[in-house]
Subunit: 95 residues, 2 copies
Amino acid sequence: MDFDTLVHQPTRLQIFAYLYRHDEAAFSEIVDELDLTEGNLASHMNKLAEADCVDVEKQFVDDSPQTTYRLTDHGRETFEDHVGQLEALIESLDE
Amino acid sequence: MDFDTLVHQPTRLQIFAYLYRHDEAAFSEIVDELDLTEGNLASHMNKLAEADCVDVEKQFVDDSPQTTYRLTDHGRETFEDHVGQLEALIESLDE
């Protein structure tokens, strides 16, 4: 069983889970909800965008720039595969 | 939710799961079952022993040195806590 560290890394695992549950989320919302620094979140989001796991949308809301993220289909599949691996590991403990 | 990287790191998560299921295991058995190099396993086992998560026993079997490992009570609790966190994350996806 090989865990994909793109998803498994602790902070990114929580970002994936958050976006999976919330469909789309603003940068500032994720910073608040996951208690991350802006620099830390930006760095992880760059990695996820490069891997084609998140779509990034930049727009102006009330004249302020706002960046929102959502998982791509590839991102959802990648995360679901990973959750499947974690579930398999957890289930193996009862054997 | 803060994941303890001592347990969460992919290879160590699998070592924890293996020892949790097998009570005790020889070095060579773990190398084979988890498809690790000896150097890689030794390095992770040193970390786990330093953190008081595994007990190490060295003995001679048929004149050959053999090292066996088992989780300490602290190691079992640490792993169970971590599995609980992973289960909570997975369950949150259905909310």
